[in-house]
């Protein structure tokens, strides 16, 4: 418990104390800077507003694409379903900086879609915005790709659990498929729509790795935290980080407490029915419920996934090949992958060192997290306050990782405890904070989906003591969940950027290396490293699928 509090919970909340303890510093930097006045405060507000606009737009698109996709995955039966499912979830495990770079290539350079279409340039400018909204298109695309899995997975899980008999009943009662969706399914999946959206929103709000790569001049709140930390504007960074954490807390906690436990069905007010719009809706739905239209919708959504996820991966792979010896456009050897890795820029040692750092920190943090998670999952399931604990534990998953990184840095680092300086050990400590919740959640999922409680009680009635029971009965059954959680946490750790960049000091892991390369315009090296990172993750997932298939 103590270890848990110190390692996991404290860092999450430590940030809150900083602006209070160092109130003067914050006031000086944010509110009353003698040089720029409240310039920083205005920056904070504008950055926050921009982040909100971006994240809300991303969530709306997520829902438009995600609901049909979730439906297709939950109810459909077609060849390639597992493939589609894997593709949708891929962004959860691909290191985001690598993915961001792949998207950047795909949309804004001649190596991507533009080149395929023979345009001789990218089809988008990095700075292109959606007219009238100021939302950068590329950033939105990347955020949609990265957050879509949260919406799809949450909805899919809910739909799978819903008995399709209600849909059948509705159809035989004369409702078309769209009417059935509106009147029968929607009320039942609304809680899932809600929690999926919240997760996606929080994730988008906190996304750092990919966003830094594609951001151009616009910065989001999460990036601002990282930038300001680099510029030693700790006060402003902490203040903004705290606001981000608070917003996430405020969104997540009520939703979690409201929706978990209760078998939530929301009864929507009969707005449409009351206003007499019902008939208009019915007519429209009956027109749109034609089979052909529905299939068209599915095709569009699948196509969107292909564009968002598959093409960037292909583009980045293809580009590495194209750039291998030289820049294919100028023909200069200096622009080739080989030159940058082995020639004077000599990135290879950096990549190798980064790989070692990444794997070491991912391995150590996962290892420690597994040992913390098992008793935690047990506590959550056995005790009344478990539910609150579980909700609190979800926070590191959705809090902007740069804010979290800042919090651990402030807590362990020179400013407060002075125990650990930035570097690999701090990376490990930071990664533990979000690895524990991932593993705990998967263990709980397995636990609740199995009959372990039954076995445990049976073992107890047969006279086994609780420790014996846990060791001989529960642990073997939970192995599946523990392994899954460990692999998820390992890949997450490999790809994490936001927090890592803040706490890494001079121990640069591979995900941060990609960001550095892009910022120093070492494109071929970035290309190689992104591809390398993406393929390592995909290989891990593949191994993981093989390992779990056996069942």
């Amino acid at each position: 418990m103590v270890a848990l509090a110190v390692l996991v919970l404290l860092p999450t909340v430590f940030l809150a104390s900083f602006p209070i303890v160092y109130f003067d510093e914050v006031r000086y930097e944010v509110f009353e800077n003698p040089l720029v006045g409240d310039e920083n405060l205005r920056m904070i507000i504008s950055v926050l507003l921009f982040s909100f606009k971006l994240s809300i737009s991303a969530v709306i698109i997520d829902l438009v694409l995600g609901i049909p996709l979730a439906f297709l995955l939950a109810r459909g039966r077609f060849p390639g379903k597992t493939l589609l499912e894997t593709l949708v979830t891929l962004p959860l495990v691909i290191p985001t900086s690598g993915f961001g770079f792949a998207s950047l290539l795909t949309w804004t350079t001649v190596s991507g879609i533009g080149g395929w279409l023979g345009l001789g340039r990218g089809i988008l400018e990095t700075s292109a915005t959606i007219p009238g909204t100021g939302i950068p298109i590329l950033m939105l695309i990347v955020h949609v790709s990265l957050t879509l899995p949260y919406v799809v997975r949450t909805l899919q899980a809910k739909l799978v659990e819903l008995n399709p008999v209600y849909e059948d009943a509705s159809r035989t009662l004369g409702a078309t498929s769209l009417t059935t969706f509106r009147k029968i399914l929607l009320p039942q999946i609304l809680p899932a729509v809600f929690s999926g959206s919240v997760l996606a929103f929080a994730r988008s709000l906190g996304e750092t790795g990919a966003t830094m790569v594609v951001s151009g001049v616009r910065i989001t709140a999460a990036i601002a935290v990282v930038r300001w930390e680099f510029e030693f504007k700790l006060g402003a960074a902490a203040f903004l980080g705290l606001i981000l954490v608070l917003i996430t807390w405020l969104i997540i906690l009520p939703v979690e407490l409201l929706l978990t436990g209760k078998q939530g069905i929301i009864k929507p007010p009969p707005l449409i029915y009351k206003t007499g719009l019902e008939k208009v809706f019915l007519k429209l739905e009956s027109k749109l419920s034609k089979r052909g239209l529905r299939n068209l919708l599915y095709v569009v959504c699948i196509f969107a996934v292909a564009i968002l996820v598959v093409i960037p991966v292909i583009v980045v792979g293809e580009s590495v090949v194209a750039y291998w010896y030289a820049d294919p456009y100028t023909g200069k050897r200096e622009g080739g992958v080989v030159y940058q890795l082995l020639g004077p820029p000599n990135y290879l040692p950096a990549i190798l060192r980064a790989t070692a750092i990444s794997f070491t920190s991912a391995f150590v943090s996962t290892y420690i997290s597994v040992f913390l998670s098992i008793p935690l999952a047990y506590i959550i399931e056995r005790y009344r306050f478990g539910r609150v604990l579980r909700a609190i534990l979800k926070i590191p998953l959705v809090v902007p990782s740069s804010a979290l990184g800042l919090s651990t840095l402030l807590m362990w680092g020179p400013k407060f405890m002075g125990l650990i300086t930035p570097g690999i050990w701090l990376i490990i400590l930071t990664h533990i904070v979000f690895s524990v919740p991932v593993i705990v959640e998967t263990i709980i999922a397995v636990y609740e989906g199995s009959d372990i409680k039954l076995y445990e009680d049976a073992a107890r009635t047969l006279g086994a003591n609780p420790y014996y029971t846990a060791e001989k009965i529960s642990l073997p059954v939970l192995k599946e969940g523990i392994i899954t959680g460990a692999i998820l946490s390992f890949t997450h750790s490999l790809g994490e950027t936001g927090a890592t960049m803040i706490v890494m000091g001079s121990d640069i892991p591979i995900s941060a290396l990609v960001v550095n390369m892009v910022e120093s315009l070492a494109i071929p090296a970035a290309l190689f490293t992104s591809t390398y990172l993406i393929f390592i993750s995909m290989a891990l997932i593949f191994v993981f699928r093989l390992a779990t298939r056996r069942k």
């Binding site: 008999v165 059948d168 009943a169 019915l282």
Partner: protein, 373 residues
């Protein structure tokens, strides 16, 4: 007025063939039960009639119209589910109102329809309650009201009583038939309970492994089952093996059983020497005292088990041939009836007209009676 006609319906799920060429006509106003062991394709067939599934081959006609490719919402069919499936986020009233509403009927008309049907089914008192607050029987009645409120004249019921208490199950099945007949509907009712089918159906479809084995009235199925499987499925039978020893006059024949004893049965279309099976229902055996040993069709045996079943005694008797039979002795002439004990030697007898005779199944008796084909 609905008449349902199925022509050569085939349905596959991957490499399972759930239905292998079903041909069936249900007349207007008929109450038909589909009876068969679990997994034989009953639900699949019903879902195909409703349009919830599409057949891989064949056509569905309702009222003479080919509806094979029509979506379920336009077929005008009421479907009642084993799991009841009242919408959990609506109360009873809203559930019943759902059909008329999604059909786009005016509010006043929808309300009138819902009120009338709920009155007819005596469920109006439960209008305000949610599915979770209803007992199984009431909930299913509301589900039926919901199906009928759409104006459906064809009611498809998939094991509608399967989820209910045994006692309510029995009451409700007569109620079901009364409603269907009272409103002049056509009903197709799926069940795996043979007693349920026998007591309420006009005609029964016996299915096995995706095929129709028999389609006839309950009486005909009971007294003249087409084959050994149907005989055994509609009330159990005891099977005795033998061969035709001699044809007798009046459609009778003499059959010599395995144990060497000859018995008299009604059997047409066999020639001497044919291998046959004689099937006798447990309730058509009687146990005699030693003093009556001069009657025909007598078999000797020993009681190996005696069980009191409430309104009858069930005896397991091992015959001299080594074959085991079950004998049910009703209690109506009881009091004086002698209760047999385990180990007691007995005489077992049956009337020739109550024995069913079939050619010896080519694949053996065991396989013939199994639910697989």
């Amino acid at each position: 007025m609905p008449e349902v006609k199925l022509v050569n319906i085939v349905k596959r799920f991957g490499n399972i063939t759930a239905l292998r060429g079903i041909n069936l006509t249900v007349e207007n106003g008929e109450y038909v039960c589909i009876l068969g062991p679990s997994g034989c394709g009953k639900t699949t067939l019903l879902r195909i009639i409703a349009g919830l599934l599409k057949p891989d081959e064949g056509q569905v006609y309702i009222d003479g119209e080919d509806v094979t490719h029509k979506p379920p919402e336009y077929r005008g069919v009421g479907f009642v589910f084993q799991s009841i499936a009242l919408f959990p986020h609506m109360n009873s009233w809203e559930n019943v109102l759902y059909g008329p509403t999604v059909k786009g009927l005016d509010k006043s008309i929808s309300h009138r329809i819902a009120r009338e049907i709920m009155r007819t089914l005596k469920t109006i008192d439960y209008s305000g309650l949610y599915p979770g607050e209803l007992s199984g029987g009431i909930a299913q009645m509301i589900a039926i009201a919901r199906a009928l409120a759409t104006g459906a004249k064809l009611l498809l019921l998939d094991e509608p009583l399967g989820a209910l208490d045994p006692r309510i199950r029995v009451d409700l099945r007569y109620e079901l038939r009364r409603i269907v007949k009272g409103l002049g509907l056509t009903a197709i009712h799926v069940t795996h309970n043979q007693e349920e089918a026998l007591t309420i159906a006009d005609r029964i479809v016996v299915m096995r492994s995706g095929m129709v084995e028999a389609y006839d009235t309950p009486e005909n199925l009971y007294w003249h089952p087409k084959n050994l499987f149907v005989a055994d499925f509609i009330g159990k039978v005891n099977v005795l093996e033998g061969f035709i020893k001699k044809a007798l006059t009046g459609g009778k024949a003499l059959v010599e059983l395995t144990g060497g004893i000859s018995i008299e049965v009604y059997a047409k279309g066999f020639s001497e020497g044919d291998k046959v099976v004689v099937a006798v229902r447990p309730e058509n055996f009687e146990i005699l005292d030693r003093s009556e040993a001069d009657k025909p069709n007598l078999l000797r045996g020993v009681v190996t088990r005696a069980r009191f079943m409430g309104d009858y005694y069930r005896y397991d008797v091992t015959l001299e041939s080594g074959e085991r039979v079950t004998v049910n002795t009703p209690l109506y002439r009881s009091e004086k009836i002698q209760v047999r004990k385990k180990g007691e030697p007995v005489l077992v007898r049956f009337d020739p007209e109550k024995a069913l005779v079939y050619a010896y199944p080519k694949r053996g008796i065991e396989r013939e009676l199994s639910i697989e084909v």
